[in-house]
Symmetry: C2
Subunit: 118 residues, 2 copies
DNA sequence: TCCATATTTCGACAATAGGCGACATACCGA
DNA sequence: TCGGTATGTCGCCTATTGTCGAAATATGGA
């Protein structure tokens, strides 16, 4: 994952509706949600939503699959992981030692439920 | 950290120059870099850079301190950690169990150097 | 084939963001 | 106080983004 790609994914999430969509899709893993249902749940016009879904798709953070008339969207956790790892790791490219300790510092291991809900 | 704040931080990083600045500052921890030096290193006019530094500051991802004529900027790793944790955890608010396994899945513990450089 | 449903694409508009020249402010040394 | 250095602010311009009505496309059932 290179800089332009990360900027695409960050930009995809840096918008109210799209962040809401992504949160909804993460919560709905592994089933996914159809476009129309997202539209109803978040109360966003279907054409506006479609634009946002397109942006999220192009960033790779979500994927879609057609089931008869519905198109079901799912979060791509692997892509999300790549983005997070880039932010955590690649940022420290010139200084791997500092990076390792920084990461260890940021994530004692991974957050517990208690920490996660702060 | 709530939605609007996260959008502010994501948006702050979703731009070429600002991502470069942040990467530079993370690499330069814990010393920090003066505004003028950042301007020279990244080859960005000082007034343009100043705007970007303002956006990054307002998002909380960087902090500044004046030393005589220079203003030295540093990355705020704690804030960065908050953002990452939000992305990983708060997204799963309605479904903590799935979230815990998802996080465990994303971060077996924390990335090793090898994984980090993929 | 025709109609209803689900979703995307197009076109136009207002709002926002990015870049930068010119000017303003802060600090220091003489 | 003055001049030089370091940084920030203002204003203008252009490019990009977000929104949504209207039209187009895809699917399935009668």
């Amino acid at each position: 994952m290179d800089n332009p790609e990360v900027i695409l994914t960050l930009g995809a999430l840096a918008q109210t509706t799209r962040l809401d969509v992504f949160k909804l899709l993460i919560r709905s893993e592994p089933n996914g949600v159809a476009a129309g249902e997202i539209s109803r749940i978040l109360d966003v016009p279907h054409n506006t939503l479609s634009t946002h879904l397109g942006i999220l798709s192009r960033s790779g953070l979500i994927r879609s699959k057609r089931y008869s008339r519905s198109i079901v969207y799912r979060a791509d956790l692997e892509r999300f992981r790549e983005m997070t790892l880039f932010l955590l790791a690649d940022c420290c490219g010139g200084n791997p030692e500092t990076c390792a300790t920084a990461i260890a510092d940021l994530f004692p291991c991974y957050p517990t439920k208690e920490e996660a809900n702060v």
